[in-house]
């Protein structure tokens, strides 16, 4: 009974702390702008199955992607064991899900196999970070903190897997020596345990108990560490993929506020037709954290800093300052900085800093070719170019600021209807003296 009370207390603290952290992050969504209506659930479900559960985009890097997929699929299976542990811990039952029969055997056996596969994958990930120079893990946005964070997260997962394996070994070791029946099937732990002969039943029991507590407490700690870590994608990636932008990558979002103004210019009569001032005209484009859409912010929380986006960015590859990963990390950092101030002092509050310039420079923004390689590559369907263009929109529409050559392009389009300084009169020059061979 004491054990149950202690467990329930720890569990409550975990849930409470998690709720506190998450509610603080969620409250910032209220500061953001609308993006799109979430519909087409069938289509979204399909994307989620393919991209999240099928790991299709992760597999664009087949070697390391395979190991990530192992970790992901492992988590999907092992989580059932964790749920069982929580129920057991609270109610005092033992392996409560065993009533599932054969399905239980499959679950437990897969968990047992995946535990070692995940552990091996994590060891590969850790050694890549420790002993190899992987270019995409570097960059101006990758501070020491990012690397420490990755190290901590990976180590915690490794600890989770090791404790799961020792727990299983302790369990079957004890049961075999004391003649009890074993619930579930443990193909890997059985092999592992045969490597350690001569362990006493009591020792096995101790190993089991210690591992059980280590495993569940690590899960509780990990769950509360994640929201402060780049590994928050463990929670955010599946919803973020589900909430993907469904439009073709090439499409930019229409600015309705501009459409109203342009229609007004073309036909002033619409001024009376349109409901006046129904939506307050805010700032055009994105200057700061409160100008982004909920989807941009969701993207920023889902970013794992894996750097696949940056590693395929033509600007970044050729040494320009732009790094799509940095754009996402900057938004996340800026919201973390300004979010609490706006919650306290209102959305209009200014701390005399902004996402533009204090975090993301104009030089970065103007280096983008809108080629969408970053968005194509992102394993969790983050869309970076839409935010970059929204920040350009702020620069041009609110500050009339753009590189000189682009201002000339604007002038040419306005005056001659072409980005170059040629007259529309000459538009058919190419068609002169055109002949075709008679075949």
């Amino acid at each position: 009974m004491t054990r149950q009370i202690i467990f329930a207390l720890v569990f409550l603290i975990t849930i409470g702390a998690f709720y506190y952290t998450i509610s603080r992050l969620i409250v910032y969504f209220r500061l953001t702008r609308p993006a799109f209506k979430v519909k087409d659930f069938g289509k979204r479900f399909g994307i989620m199955m393919r991209v999240a559960f099928g790991q299709t985009k992760i597999f664009r890097r087949p070697f390391i992607g395979f190991f990530h997929a192992l970790v992901f699929w492992g988590f999907c299976v092992i989580i059932f064991g964790s749920i069982e542990m929580v129920i057991d811990g609270i109610t005092g039952t033992h392996k409560v899900l065993k009533f599932l029969g054969q399905f239980y055997d499959i679950l437990i056996a897969s968990g047992d196999i995946f535990a070692i596969l995940v552990a091996l994958s994590i060891i590969i990930f850790l050694s890549r970070r420790l002993f190899f120079h992987i270019k995409r893990f570097e960059g101006i946005e990758m501070k020491r903190r990012s690397h420490t964070d990755a190290g901590i997260s990976l180590s915690l997962i490794l600890l989770l897997m090791i404790s799961l394996m020792t727990m299983n070994m302790g369990y079957i070791g004890y049961k075999e020596l004391t003649g009890g029946s074993i619930d579930g099937i443990y193909p890997v732990s059985r092999i592992l345990i045969s490597l350690f002969p001569g362990i006493a039943a009591e020792t096995f029991k101790l190993i089991y108990e210690a591992s059980w507590w280590t495993h569940i407490l690590t899960i509780f700690f990990f769950a509360n560490y994640l929201p402060y870590s780049k590994h928050f994608h463990v929670f955010m990636s599946i919803p973020n993929v589900f909430l993907s932008r469904l439009e073709p990558l090439g499409k930019l979002t229409n600015m309705e506020s501009i459409t109203r103004e342009v229609r007004l210019m073309i036909d002033p009569n619409t001024a009376f037709a349109a409901a006046p001032a129904e939506t307050p005209v805010g700032r055009f484009g994105v200057k700061d954290a409160e100008d982004v859409t909920w989807k941009n912010y969701f993207d920023s929380l889902s970013c794992t800093e894996c750097g696949r986006c940056t590693s395929v960015c033509p600007a970044n590859i050729t040494g320009k300052k732009l790094s799509p990963r940095k754009i996402m990390m900057d938004l996340r950092a800026r919201m973390k900085e300004k979010g609490p101030l706006m919650v306290k002092n209102g959305r209009d509050f200014s701390d005399n800093r902004s996402l533009l310039r204090d975090f993301i420079s104009e030089e970065e923004l103007w280096a983008c070719t809108t080629c969408n390689a970053c968005a194509q590559e992102c394993p969790v369907n983050i869309n970076h170019p839409s935010l970059i263009v929204d920040m350009r929109r702020y620069l041009v529409l609110e500050e009339a600021s753009a590189p000189g050559e682009l201002k000339a392009v604007f002038n040419n389009i306005e005056n001659n209807g072409a980005p170059w300084q040629y007259s529309a009169e000459d538009r058919l020059q190419w068609a002169k003296d055109l002949e075709i061979n008679i075949i």
Partner: protein, 264 residues
């Protein structure tokens, strides 16, 4: 072999005579003003003529779709251009548009519908592929005498709109020696000109993007780099010049390759 003069049909003339061509061929600013790209448009029009496609161009009434303005953040200018274009197109009761420039294709197809500009938009590659498939456009593997050809995917056909198969289908009909760059299809590297970069100097870095991409193409050993976008053409042709390879390696548009293969 004789020659026939091609009179390019202009929409306003046809409309005045009460004719409604099936397609509007949207030439684009590069087609109208870029000397190198004018040749591509000429080649494409030869193919259209050869196939008896019912089409017309807007000619002097054509204007910028607003793409470079939009991607450079000037939404106001973009929407003014777009509404002007849409009203001209609607005036001529146009239903179907053939584009040759991928940027125009993308903006017509994906972005004009938001401003009530709904048209059936077809890329010239889709049209050509369809004619090849239907047997109306007869080209075969010996057309290019098995010259090795590689293809650079324009971002706005590829990643932006998932058009990867049509160009490869056509090129594989033209030559038995088609080679891929190591970064191809959705992995393709941008030429460096998208998002209005075409019209400005690149930001400071340690290399030009078009050189990086030209190197990809050179590594294939192909003697023809096929492109399907006016900006990509400018960039890769510049890349070949920079590498002093423009004598031996040609950068040609798929329309030019088809017209050449058919001896039009």
């Amino acid at each position: 072999m004789g020659k026939n003069k091609i009179e390019v049909p202009v929409m306003s003339d046809l409309f005045a005579r009460g004719e409604r061509p099936e397609y509007l061929f949207w030439v684009g600013c590069a087609g109208a003003f870029d000397d190198r790209y004018k040749k591509v448009v000429r080649a494409f029009v030869k193919i259209l003529t050869h196939l008896n496609v019912s089409y017309a161009v807007l000619g002097k009434e054509e204007t910028c779709t607003g793409d470079p303005a939009r991607r450079a953040g000037n939404e106001m200018l973009y929407q003014m251009q777009a509404m002007q274009v849409i009203s001209v197109l609607k005036g001529y009761e146009i239903k179907k548009i053939i584009t040759i420039c991928p940027h125009c294709f993308n903006i017509f197809k994906n972005e004009y519908p938001d401003l009530d500009g709904n048209f059936e938009v077809i890329s010239y590659l889709q049209l050509l592929a369809r004619f090849v498939e239907e047997g109306k456009l007869r080209i075969d593997k010996t057309s290019l005498k098995n010259i090795s050809v590689t293809y650079h995917d324009p971002c706005y056909l590829g990643r932006a709109n998932d058009i990867y198969d049509e160009p490869r289908f056509i090129l594989n009909k033209l030559t038995g020696n088609f080679v891929e760059m190591h970064r191809n299809k959705s992995f393709a590297l941008c030429c460096g000109a998208g998002g209005a970069q075409m019209f400005k100097e690149a930001e400071k870095g340690d290399k030009e993007i078009f050189i990086e991409r030209t190197e990809d193409a050179l590594k294939t050993g192909a003697s023809v780099i096929a492109t399907a976008c006016p900006f990509c053409m400018t960039m890769l042709t510049d890349g070949l010049k920079y590498k002093n390879r423009e004598e031996e390696i040609k950068n040609l548009d798929i329309a030019e390759l088809v017209a050449q293969a058919m001896d039009l």
